[in-house]
């Protein structure tokens, strides 16, 4: 598949002394965390442990109750650094597939012929070249999430934050979309929040389990080989068992 976007020199993301409280409860206290540049980092943890909150803090969309520093490479400014892909596809129902993909450019008044061309090429690359003028309501769940993936890529940001983007899909569509995402965002710094240890083992260069209150990060898990991985490797199965064990302990 052709590479339309390159993520050369994607920065690492450094969280330093990050604290966050919500309704009087301390979710993070003096948390230090490094997300390696150009790699997939996966966060696992029980519901309510703050996985999505951590993504929101990094994206800059959540600031109330936050203290600490978040750096992208050497830069403290979050603006223009991150793209967001959520569990829901968040397609705007009044826009065609093409215009949904161009949503960021439309919002910033940056639509150009070149962007439209890139958008169409990317849609073709994910097998949706025939749907550019369709409305989201006419698409299946898997197709909609592919559009959301292309919209995320079109932002051309070095850091991609993914909040359980594949969890609502059926098993086969999920694997196809995981492969597609792994291929298309190669080289970007990706932080993927997931409930599924197997998904983390398929896609992640580094995996962390979030535990405790205030939330801490467990020891890093480094699966062997390059993602997307086949899960028939015995080493991966053993890691899966250990991750499950850790998750069961945290609940």
């Amino acid at each position: 598949m052709a590479n339309f976007l390159t993520f050369a020199d994607a920065p690492r993301v450094m969280l330093e002394n990050v604290s966050f409280s919500f309704s009087g409860a301390m979710l993070f206290s003096s948390l230090d965390f490094e997300i390696k540049g150009g790699q997939w980092t996966c966060l696992l943890g029980p519901s309510g442990c703050g996985k999505s909150t951590l993504l929101r803090l990094i994206s800059g969309s959540l600031r109330e109750g936050f203290s600490g520093t978040i750096r992208f490479g050497g830069v403290k400014e979050t603006k223009g650094q991150t793209a967001w892909m959520a569990q829901k596809d968040l397609l705007l129902p009044w826009l065609t597939v093409l215009n949904n993909v161009l949503m960021g450019a439309r919002l910033r008044g940056e639509v150009s012929g070149q962007r439209v061309e890139t958008a169409i090429s990317l849609l073709k690359a994910v097998g949706l070249g025939h749907c550019t003028n369709e409305l989201p309501a006419t698409l299946s769940g898997g197709m909609r999430q592919r559009v959301a993936l292309v919209r995320t890529l079109m932002e051309d940001r070095p850091v991609i934050l993914m909040d359980e983007p594949f969890s609502a899909l059926d098993a086969l569509t999920r694997i196809k979309l995981q492969n597609l995402a792994a291929e298309l965002v190669q080289g970007a710094t990706v932080l993927l929040v997931t409930h599924d240890p197997l998904e983390a083992l398929r896609l992640g260069h580094r995996i962390y389990v979030m535990t405790g209150s205030p939330t801490r990060l467990g020891r890093v898990v480094l699966p062997p080989g390059q993602p997307p991985r086949n899960l028939d490797n015995p080493a991966i199965s053993a890691m899966h068992a250990r991750l499950l064990e850790q998750l069961v302990v945290t609940v």
Binding site: G80, W94, L107, R108
Partner: protein, 246 residues
């Protein structure tokens, strides 16, 4: 299908009407049957149509002005919380005063022409449109807004590209309600003081005990109101093409 349903309902209502006339034995000046009313409608068609056009113009002008004012008010309330705190009580007070009570004053201030009737229609239309559109603007999917912010969109771009389109289905619902109640404003205004319009013509016929003509004017008013409602509904379905249909 909708025309078939409407035809069946109309025929059913006319049959019930005829049965009531037959069973009660009411004299024609109290309750005329469907046939005398139809005859009066045909005999006075030109006069009725002249008055109907005036009422239609008042309703349509009220709808256009009321909707624009309602949409603008909702946007102002959305844009500024402090303005909202001042405006909202004013809107509620405007609805607490019955429009029937205001009608004589409006006629006194704006005269017997169309101005007072259009104002009455605007007063009735304004609130459902404002309330529905404001509600729609407020209830925009929070994750769409968050996505917009992560994409570095300005608040005005988020309003224009996300909030307003997302609120259009709610606006359409408000406009449908407004269209259904708009004739009330125009007709009440015509009753209180006017020299033309279906409301005026009904009063005129009533004073002369021409009950069949009153019913003919009423039938025309209902037809006009239904056509307007379905026209607005059709337009909203075309414009807000993404709204969920059950």
């Amino acid at each position: 299908m909708i025309f078939l349903r409407l035809s069946v309902i109309s025929i059913g209502l006319i049959l019930i009407w005829q049965v009531v006339v037959y069973l009660t034995g009411s004299p024609p000046y109290i309750l005329p049957g469907p046939l005398p009313v139809a005859k009066a409608l045909v005999a006075k068609w030109e006069t009725l149509w002249f008055h109907a056009w005036i009422t239609i113009a008042e309703i349509v002008a009220g709808l256009v002005i009321g909707s624009l004012l309602g949409a603008t008010s909702a946007l102002i309330m959305m844009a500024s919380r402090s303005l909202k705190r001042w405006l909202l009580p004013v809107f509620v007070i405007s609805q607490a005063v019955p429009v029937f009570a205001l009608a004589p004053l409006l006629v006194l201030w704006l005269g017997y022409g169309m101005g007072s009737k259009i104002t009455m229609a605007v007063l009735i239309i304004f609130f459902p449109v404002t309330a529905a559109f404001y509600d729609g603007l407020r209830r925009t999917e929070p994750e769409w807004l968050e996505l917009g912010r992560v994409m570095n969109a300005s608040p005005s771009a988020i309003l224009y590209h996300i909030r307003i389109p997302a609120a259009l289905p709610a606006f359409a619902s408000g406009l449908r309600v407004a269209t259904a109640v708009a004739p009330i404003g125009a007709i009440v205004g015509e009753w209180v003081g006017s020299s033309a319009g279906l409301g005026f013509y009904m009063l005129h016929a009533n004073a002369r005990m021409q009950t069949d003509l009153m019913f003919a004017a009423l039938a025309l008013l209902v037809t006009v109101a239904l056509i307007l409602y379905f026209l607005v509904d059709w337009m909203m379905k075309k414009i807000v093409y993404w709204q969920i249909e059950e």
